[in-house]
Symmetry: C2
Subunit: 361 residues, 2 copies
């Protein structure tokens, strides 16, 4: 069966202001290492999904830049949502298009803006997931083995004992439940139990499986997708899509389908995953000097500790006697944030929107 990937590139990345902007959100930026997040998301699929089998769902602001960054992905595979409606409509749309173009197929769903450290282990996980999804005709998710009681992620509980059949050599475990972001105490229990993995937002299923799941659990969305079907790859597409999206309810695939479906499997995995949810996450991942600093080349540091400094191109930056700072300097905007507080960066974006300071968004 042919394998396709649907990459969800809808986020505006407000938490990465001032580097992420409406026209260049996190997934389009080179945040760590070489290549942008979305380029690396595509590149690490190479041995599993040919680039012409990659679909990308994104917004109007970003489509052009995605085409520029990924010339090998056919332009008709870049699906521009008229407005964001969370993951269920985006995934349904991708599945509907795949069924029209390819009939039955294997479908991998991946966020465009996650970091994967061990690419071989990641690819191995996908192969296992494909085998489980193929054999079980179920909903397969990739769960990341937690190494800390993280409160920023959802968790998936799975059943070690419940191997009804030896799915693909026991790689898939039956899902017991999806758990929302826990408090620290609960996260600690999750971690100690060994029964929980982080919900990575990565899914693998047959196209028919997810479309049937939407029929069962999101019938309104299913109706809209049916209506759209005949406009796919015709000149009416853009208009039909706009009409369909107007009436759609924003809902996540987790809440809309996964939490309700039967026949759910998780592949626990450990491939050095990070969803890069904030500048603090980025700061944690950067290599540090002997004073625990990570600074752009040329930045002047005098008695500075545990700070992350990303400096702008032709500007000279100097820090004296400070610690625990995240400094993100761009051509037209500057963020100075205490470490541990970078979740609040989205407040800046809200402020800019409220004040009509669109040039900084």
């Amino acid at each position: 069966m042919d394998v396709y990937a649907l990459i969800i590139a809808g986020g505006v990345g407000a938490r990465f202001w001032p580097r992420s902007r409406e026209y260049s959100p996190k997934q389009l930026l080179e945040i760590i290492g070489k290549g942008t997040m979305i380029q690396n998301t595509v590149y690490r699929l190479d041995p599993i999904v040919p680039r012409e089998n990659i679909l990308i769902v994104t917004g109007a602001f970003q489509a052009e830049e995605i085409r520029r960054q990924l010339p090998q992905v056919p332009p008709e595979n870049i699906i521009v949502e008229p407005v964001g409606r969370n993951t269920a409509p985006a995934i349904g749309l991708g599945a509907q298009i795949l069924r029209k173009r390819a009939g039955e197929a294997m479908m991998i769903v991946l966020p465009a803006d996650h970091l994967v450290h061990d690419i071989a282990a990641f690819q191995d996980t996908l192969r296992k997931g494909i085998a489980v999804a193929d054999e079980s005709r179920g909903f397969v998710t990739i769960g990341v083995t937690p190494d800390r009681p993280e409160t920023g992620y959802g968790y998936i509980q799975f059943n070690h004992e419940n191997h009804e059949r030896p799915y693909a050599a026991h790689d898939g475990y039956k899902v017991v439940t999806f758990a929302e972001k826990p408090n620290l105490e609960t996260a600690q229990l999750f971690l100690e139990s060994g029964d929980f993995v982080w919900n990575s937002g990565m899914f693998i299923w047959r196209v028919s499986t997810i479309l049937n799941g939407i029929v069962d659990h999101l019938p309104e969305l299913s109706d809209e997708l049916q209506k759209l079907d005949e406009a796919i790859d015709t000149p009416n597409w853009t208009q039909a899509l706009e009409q369909a999206y107007n009436g759609m309810r924003p809902i996540s695939i987790d809440y809309g389908v996964m939490e309700k479906a039967e026949n759910r499997y998780v592949i626990p995995a450990d491939f050095g995953w990070n969803d890069l949810g904030s500048w603090d996450e980025v700061a944690r991942l950067f290599p540090k000097d002997e004073c625990d600093n990570a600074a752009s080349e040329g930045v002047f540091l005098r008695d500075v500790r545990n700070s992350h400094i990303s400096a702008g191109g032709n500007r000279f930056t100097a820090l004296i006697g400070v610690e625990d700072l995240i400094v993100i300097d761009t051509d037209d905007a500057l963020l100075i944030c205490h470490k541990g507080r970078s979740q609040e960066v989205k407040e800046v974006v809200d402020h800019l929107r409220k004040k009509g300071l669109d040039q900084y968004l």
Copy 2:
């Protein structure tokens, strides 16, 4: 007797990087309130010294900007030193020019980059100083009554009892000694004694008094000034000045003359003086909001305390969860400094010089 003022505008203001640059040092900037430091230095002399009686000694980098900022000061009164040689040569040069142009005159010497809060009190002090200098034919300095055991200034000890004559209604006190910057313990003793005032670097004397003082205590400088005399206001001036300065030893008027001379008087005064020696001083003087912040208009602050933020023109600046910072953002350079550490800003300037990063100097 005509009253002249010599304004010393030689400093490069390295401690005010990144706002102060070689072409726009501290004295040419609007740091607090309206008007640049040197403009305010001239304006507050208005009732005492007509603007055509104001001489300014400065460096080549700054002369043009001074002419632009002070069009009312005759261009021939702006004396461009080929190289900085500390205050004694600059003051000697001014005095020599004044003798040639005006014969005997009263001469007020003022730094270009000091802040004066109470202008009426300042002018009153100058008037007293002029009277004392005129009557005593001595060296008159202005001493600022200390309100804290400051270790960053030199001190002048004076004799309350030693009124040999009722100089100008007892306004002038005999100087006992000039004391270098003290340590905190000594500064505390100075403060408690009531016998010490801060050395403001402001002087008042007859032209003949200071020239004779230079003859007595800096004979080499006196020789150079004599040689220069006939070139004053001739086409040979620039070349003669360059030659003279080549051989001159850099020395301050305090060390070269004041510490050795007899007949020294101090006028203790309290006119809200500040030499603005660092960004910390500036931060102290700015009005603060209820969280002890002073920020440029439009800066986004979230849970920020006791910080001073001077933001650049068309850039948007946001701070989250930080405290005790001094942030100076300009078009091409950024300083982030812990409060209390701004003396170290000159290390940045040294670094830029060493690295040949002249565009940021």
